[in-house]
Amino acid sequence: MTLAFDLVLCAMIVGAAICAAVAGTIFAAAVFFIVYGIFVSLAWLRLDAFDVALAEAAMGAGLTGILLLRALGRMPASEDRPGPALAPALAGAGLALALGWAFLALPESAGLGPVVRNAAPGAGAENPVTAVLLAFRAWDTLLETIVLLAALLGVWALSRDEAWGLPPGLPQRVRPDGVLAGFGRILPPIGAVVGVYLVWAGTSRPGGAFQGGTVLAAVALLVSMAGLAQAPRVTSGALRLVLVAGPLVFLGMAFIGAVLSLWQPGAAFLALPEAHAKSLILGIELMLTLSIAVTLAALVAGPPEDRA
């Protein structure tokens, strides 16, 4: 039965991807992409990757979809005339065949699973994925939060000079007693609870700063789209402090380790003292969540604009 499910699932994923690739209008392609993201997160569940399924549902299907839909609303409806299809089709087919062959030719599993599971409790997180993200490969995670910051700086740099200093995105107009506003009042509290829960649960169960932060970012976007609150200006010091708080705390903790290592043998750059590792990881995660949520929301909202 599970094989039948997986085959159907793969057929749906591939079908949605092909439709997203060849759909006649870009709007249809974007909707297919959202649908595709939902199916892909189901595939992650089938691979026992619950953390990834959460991330894909929240980011792949959720925020990327919102990003594309918002961009499409600003574009003129235009015909899509792609280029010649032969060479791209050959390249795509060749790569897919090569990768398919490679998958079948791979040696028996060569992963680090057992090593990670042995070391994870000592790193302060029972969820091995969180242990990898915040202890073993913390440098990746730190750089990744910096990548988010770099993308946001790049997006903001694209504002027009006249609009610089305004809040991110467009000024929103909403009828105060309408469905949209009501929607914006009911969902955010629930979303906030879900987001915080995902972070809190992340050290021992699936979830974590990125998944929780994405849900909170979606909540912030909804609040803004429903006109319930105005986003702060891009020049606001408070906004900027929230943006960098996560990476700053992360880097600060890392540096304390490096300085301590001068006279303490166990300490090192990016090492957390084992006795407090669990609470420190939770603390870092909370700060990261805050920064990730605000950065993602601002990324999707786009550069400040003055055209009402």
Partner: protein, 482 residues
């Protein structure tokens, strides 16, 4: 050392964060970062006898990520530090407006990404570093906001994203086959049939990012469309990062995969890039485009390292010379190219456009800048006594020693082409007419001059960097020295 490596990796990022918080203090923060990093590098190079390894968080690979500094890493860290210091001194952005608020943090993030790449030994970490580098570089390329710069930035991004994905695909395949991401773990791996595909995908991705001919289409518009300080970083440093990963990959991690056909192809594409870039540079009317196409050509030289020092040839006596020559070339080109773009920026501001005719008489109006440009040109042409000369000398002699004189064709013809395309702006600058340039303060001309002098000094005093490069040199390239 347990403090130096974290400083090198994290201080630019901390500086970028500070510049986000205090956009008006961007320049001061940038210069502060420069001072700290130059000092840290001085301590590092002074005390470096054997490669230094620092497992981050105390977690040893394969579980964790390790930073490592050897001679090659130190040389590229030094190049980044010198060029970035020059660029940050020269950059004119003030206040908290759109451009200033974007430039300072993005430039520091670009520096942080470069250092992260030069220090990292982990394939996936290198991927994250490359993405950080790409996003910062694309944003800087688009900084002016003009339609042309935006199109160039988008084209850059299209290529760079494709390159990232190919690299990531190769990394994924490597992990799936070996359960390892650490470069040091790969030479002793249990060979798998998928290795060639994984290495091919990673290499293809890095070639796109390095803009090797025929993947060069994005480079010239993006580098010439950016503001001059950004162009200097984009042209002098950014392609070097992906090339650096190629060096690590093919000379340390997977040297056994270097089949003769592949090595020959790399050399052939490199030679084609030298010729194509040179001819295109000759045909441009705008100075920044001349310099940008010159980068296309200069990148070609780097790939001669594959046929001359890669694969089975690594055991030959000439391999060490070729490898060192190519690294010298990367360093000298970085310094010279940064100097040239900064000069071009000064003239663009002084003349209002960057057409070559607008330079007529510049030697009288901006003598220091013209001198800097001429010194940088000497290094690019490969004339003695410059770093470029040392590099080309090593490459050409290796080619003859290897019994493959055709690999000397690129450097020799490339030098002639460089002389031809750089003659035009220099001749215009020395034209005996009254210059139509607004005056440029000497302080601003001093920065490109210092960088260009660096490219010359690299040739005059080539022994210290030469010795530095021997520290922890990959065995594939070191075997020949004995």
């Amino acid at each position: 050392m347990s403090l130096i490596l974290p400083l090198l990796a994290a201080v630019p990022l901390l500086g970028a964060i500070a510049a986000v918080l205090a956009p008006r203090a961007g320049k001061g923060i940038g210069l502060g970062v420069a001072i700290v990093l130059l000092a840290a590098l001085a301590v590092l190079v002074g005390g470096l006898n054997t490669p230094v390894v620092l497992p981050l968080g105390g977690w040893e690979p394969p579980l964790g990520i390790a930073l490592r500094v050897d001679g090659l890493a130190a040389a590229f860290l030094g190049l980044a530090a010198v060029v970035m210091t020059g660029v940050l001194i020269a950059a004119p952005y003030r206040g908290a407006g759109r451009e200033a608020a974007a430039f300072w943090p993005l430039a520091l993030l670009l520096w942080g990404a470069l250092n992260a790449i030069f220090l990292s030994r982990d394939l996936f970490n290198l991927y994250v570093g490359l993405e950080l580098l790409t996003l910062a570089a694309v944003a800087l390329a688009a900084l002016s906001g003009s339609a042309g710069a935006l199109a160039a930035a988008i084209r850059y991004m299209v290529f760079a994203l494709m390159g990232s994905l190919l690299f990531l695909l190769g990394v994924a395949l490597t992990y799936a086959a070996h359960g390892a991401l650490d470069l040091a773990a790969l030479p002793g791996r249990n060979p798998q049939p998928t290795d060639a595909l994984a290495a091919g995908l990673m290499t293809a991705g890095l070639l796109v990012k390095t803009a090797l001919f025929p993947f060069h289409a994005w480079l010239a518009p993006a580098h010439s469309g950016a503001p001059a300080p950004a162009s200097a970083m984009l042209s002098a440093l950014v392609p070097k990062a992906s090339f650096y990963i190629l060096l690590r990959l093919w000379f340390e991690a997977l040297p056994d995969l270097g089949r003769p056909g592949f090595l020959w192809l790399m050399g052939a594409l490199g030679t084609a890039a030298i010729l194509y870039g040179g001819v295109m540079a000759l045909r441009q009317a705008r100075l920044k485009l001349v310099i940008a196409y010159s980068t296309v050509a200069q990148i070609g030289y780097l790939f001669l390292v594959f046929p001359l020092a890669g694969g089975g040839g690594a055991a030959q006596p000439w391999a060490a010379g070729a490898w060192t020559g190519v690294v010298f070339h990367a360093l000298a080109h970085g310094l010279a190219k940064a100097a040239m773009f900064l000069c071009a920026g000064l003239w663009l501001a002084a003349a209002g456009n960057d057409r070559i005719e607008a330079l007529r008489g510049a030697a009288r109006a901006t003598p220091m800048a013209v001198f800097a440009f001429a010194l940088a040109a000497i290094s690019l042409m490969g004339l003695p006594p410059s770093g470029g000369f040392t590099a080309k000398y090593l490459m050409v002699t290796s080619a003859f020693a290897a019994g493959a004189p055709y690999w000397a064709l690129g450097p020799l013809l490339g030098g002639l082409l460089a002389a031809a395309y750089l003659y035009r702006p220099i001749a215009a600058a020395f034209a005996p007419v009254e210059p139509e340039l607004r005056p440029v303060p000497r302080g601003q001309q001093a920065v490109p001059l210092a960088l260009a002098l660096g490219a010359i000094v690299l040739g005059l005093a080539s022994a210290p960097p030469f010795d530095l490069l021997q520290i922890g040199r990959p065995e594939a390239a070191a075997r020949g020295v004995e």
